[in-house]
């Protein structure tokens, strides 16, 4: 595996299998009373967020802490960024603390790749503009595999605003890599031209939704109304909302959150047993632990002091 995780494209199918397997073993730890392991003791992880985030930043924070890393969370607001420091200077300054990893979120595509070129640390892309969000895709794969028992051959429909969604882009690639058949569906104004080249089919109505094993609904952002991408939220909901009528009994439902109730999803499907939405949030921590472990603790082989990644940290530790 590469030194950074910038795109799902950086991951082979074997890499993904290994990360999901590792996440399974961390899930066991999470079930224990003491959830910490010593794997990354003494190492520093910097959470550098240039864009608002709740679940991604908090789950990375928890993941780093459960691996015993020292975590430095930095938000753009109130930092030197506010004083006009360039991204390059910020990254080089933070690199002076010798972090093992920088978890980076930015409103701009490719920004994580730039950061990777300026720091010796491993860089994890926690969302770069409308480009990619690879750890979201990994936790979605993990959640789905746990529930469905497999990924190969599943028919996944990604429904909604594909144009503005980094989650959609990473997931099209990730589901495809694991052998799923991927269809994207949404209003023609919100389907990017040329998206078929990512390896998915395109539909503009939900007429054939019944063929899906998994319905992955995307967040419909209110601000998209201003660009007249869709005439109204009402019309959007009428055409594309996943509700009790449209979601078949055997279909699973996913959503990256936060959900707009009554827009892309109706209340009854959110609370249905078919919905994996809270499982997705829960998976975030163990999958991000697995990613940190892969990048920092040697990936395929265990590292010194980390023979058993699931060994609890309650045992006496050498200083």
């Amino acid at each position: 595996m590469k030194r950074h995780l910038l795109s799902v494209d950086d991951l082979s199918r074997e890499d993904i299998e290994r990360i999901l397997g590792r996440a399974e073993s961390f899930a066991e730890v999470s079930g224990r009373e003491i959830k910490k392991v010593p794997t990354l003791r003494g190492r520093t992880v910097i959470n550098l967020f240039y864009e608002a985030s709740t679940r991604t930043s908090s789950s990375f924070e928890l993941a780093a802490k459960r691996l015993s890393a020292d975590l430095v969370p930095i938000k753009a607001q109130g930092s030197a960024v506010d004083k006009g420091e360039s991204l390059k200077d910020t990254v080089q300054t933070l690199s002076a603390y010798d972090p093992a990893a920088v978890v980076f979120r930015s409103p701009h595509a490719g920004a994580a790749g730039l950061v990777a070129s300026w720091t010796p640390a491993s860089v994890i892309n926690a969302g770069d503009g409308k480009h990619e969000h690879p750890t979201q895709a990994l936790l979605d794969l993990y959640t789905l595999r746990r529930r469905a028992g497999r990924l190969e051959g599943l028919n996944v429909w990604i429904v909604g605003d594909v144009l503005h969604s980094r989650v959609a882009r990473s997931n099209i690639l990730a589901f495809g890599r694991m052998g799923c058949r991927v269809t994207v569906c949404g209003p023609p104004t919100l389907i990017p031209r040329g998206v078929e080249s990512l390896g998915c089919e395109v539909r503009i109505t939900l007429d054939d939704l019944a063929e899906a094993d998994v319905v992955y609904a995307l967040r419909m952002q209110h601000e998209r109304m201003t660009g007249s991408f869709v005439p109204s939220l009402r019309e959007y909901a009428a055409q594309y909302q996943i509700d009790g009528r449209r979601l078949g009994a055997g279909q699973l439902l996913m959503h990256p959150g936060p959900v707009n109730r009554g827009v892309e999803l109706s209340a009854e499907v959110i609370d249905s047993p078919q919905a994996l939405i809270t499982d997705q949030v829960e998976s975030g921590v163990v999958v991000r632990m697995a990613v940190l472990y892969e990048l920092l603790a040697g990936g395929s082989g265990p590292l010194r002091g980390a023979e058993d990644p699931s060994r609890p940290a309650s045992e006496p530790q050498p200083a």
Binding site: S86, A109, G110, A111, G129, R193, G194
Partner: protein, 451 residues
């Protein structure tokens, strides 16, 4: 307005060269000259052309032994950003014209999107004055079509023309309003001078940062569709026909635009157009790694668009090649792709890049490329350089066999955001003579003894 148009160009007065180029391969596609020969430069003009080894050097003349080199009419670039006034940290008149001379250019036109914008005779006058002190090659200055390039109110185009504006353009920005465009074309009857157009419908290009296509879908970067260019060209060729004006379309990037231009020209519209080396040689595939060096406006487009541009250069619909040399400070380009500024430098690499990627593989003939690279002044009424007795001496000497790596020994330009940086190219400019004087001489270029 009977200003002789070449008098619109300014350069620093230096002593004319007395120089005998011996045994070069002389190539001037317009006159059919294509053979080895001697060429004597004296008193600012081509004094004589003779058989190889036939000409005698006059006393005190420099002799350049040029066997194995090609001598072309020096190139003319109608689209250069000298960033002066306002951003002299990125380029100034001296460095920009030095960069041009190093690329084999004997004349350039500068764009008016500076700070302040060249929208008044006083700004234009001060630039011309500076050029008479600093410019290494003849340099013309275009003025803005609208005040502040805001697209609302026409500049004092008649006065600007009298003050020596080489043309009018709001380059960098489109003329958003069809009404203003029409007014400019109508007023052109009084002011004269070509109107050069950056064609882009901002309603369609929006906040796009790259070509709209499969790659922008993959990268999640907002796209600039090719129709944002072609629909504006369609509008403006219609308006030019209606007002009987003449326009020049800058940096054509899309197949659709080439097709619109073909139809307009067939219908008799007076429209010329240019293509840049980067659009002729690179595609949006370069943007895959979101390297800001490949961010420019219009964006690099698809292979199909690139092929259409090459066909357009061949047929003459795209009558000249322009670099759109756009220097940027390195810290500005060290930004995420979406926020980095648009533009690349290209004066020093233009010929070698075109020669290596189009002439060597046999896509375009050398003569045709020279013809297009020397035609940049034509839409603006400037004379075309030629290797002919008594013509003003504007010559570049090029070693087609010499290979070099772009940027290996830095740039003459003050900026280094070259789209071809790191590429190994064939074709090295050894010397450029502009307005009868040596404007550039490669540092390592061995010269013959002074007679």
């Amino acid at each position: 307005m009977n200003v002789p148009l070449d008098s619109l160009l300014d350069w620093a007065d230096v002593a004319p060269a007395a120089l005998l180029i011996r045994r070069a391969h002389l190539l001037d596609p317009r006159t059919g000259l294509d053979r080895p020969g001697d060429l004597l430069v004296r008193d600012g003009a081509v004094a004589e052309i003779g058989a190889p080894g036939a000409l005698r050097a006059p006393p005190h003349a420099e002799i350049v032994e040029a066997e194995g080199l090609h001598a072309f009419p020096a190139f003319v670039d109608p689209h250069v950003h000298l960033r002066t006034p306002g951003r002299e940290d990125e380029e100034d008149i001296e460095t920009g014209t030095r960069s041009a001379a190093a690329g084999g250019y004997g004349a350039i036109l500068a764009m008016p999107n500076t700070d302040p914008v060249v929208d008044s005779a006083s700004v234009l006058g001060s630039l011309r004055e500076r050029a008479r002190k600093e410019a290494r090659i003849p340099t013309g200055f275009t003025a803005a079509v609208t005040i502040g390039q805001r697209g609302e109110q026409l500049t004092e185009m008649a006065e600007l023309a009298q003050a020596g504006a080489a043309g009018f353009t709001d380059d960098g920005l489109p003329l958003r309003s069809a009404r203003v465009m029409r007014q400019a074309l109508a007023y052109q009857r009084l002011a004269g001078r070509c109107i050069a157009l950056h064609e882009e419908d901002p309603a369609l290009s929006g906040d796009g940062a790259m070509h709209e296509g499969d790659l922008s879908a993959l990268l999640g970067v907002a796209g600039i569709p090719s129709v944002s260019e072609s629909t504006m060209v369609a509008r403006d060729t219609e308006l030019a026909a209606y007002e009987d004006g003449f326009i020049h379309v800058q940096h054509v990037s899309a197949r659709q635009t080439v097709e619109v231009l073909e139809r307009a020209r067939a219908a008799g519209v007076r429209v010329t157009a240019e293509a840049t080396p980067h659009h002729l040689l690179l595609t949006h595939e370069c943007v895959r790694g979101l390297d800001t060096r490949y961010k420019m406006n219009p964006p690099l487009r698809s292979e199909d668009d690139r092929q259409a541009l090459i066909d357009g250069v061949r047929s003459g619909v795209l009558g000249c090649i322009a670099t759109d040399h756009a220097p940027h400070a390195s810290e500005e380009k060290e930004e995420p792709f979406e926020t980095a500024p648009m533009g690349v430098t290209g004066l020093e690499s233009a010929f070698a890049a075109l020669y290596t990627d189009l002439v060597v593989p046999g896509v375009l003939g050398l003569g045709l490329v020279i013809e297009r690279m020397t035609a940049g002044g034509e839409p603006f009424g400037l004379s075309i350089p030629t290797l002919a007795k008594d013509a003003p001496a504007s010559v570049c000497l090029v070693d087609l066999a010499a290979e070099w790596e772009v940027g290996e020994s830095g740039y003459e330009s003050r900026s280094s955001n070259c789209a071809f940086a790191g590429r190994r190219l064939a074709g090295r400019v050894r010397m450029t003579i502009a307005a009868g004087a040596v404007a550039f001489r490669e540092r390592s270029f061995a010269i013959g003894a002074v007679a």
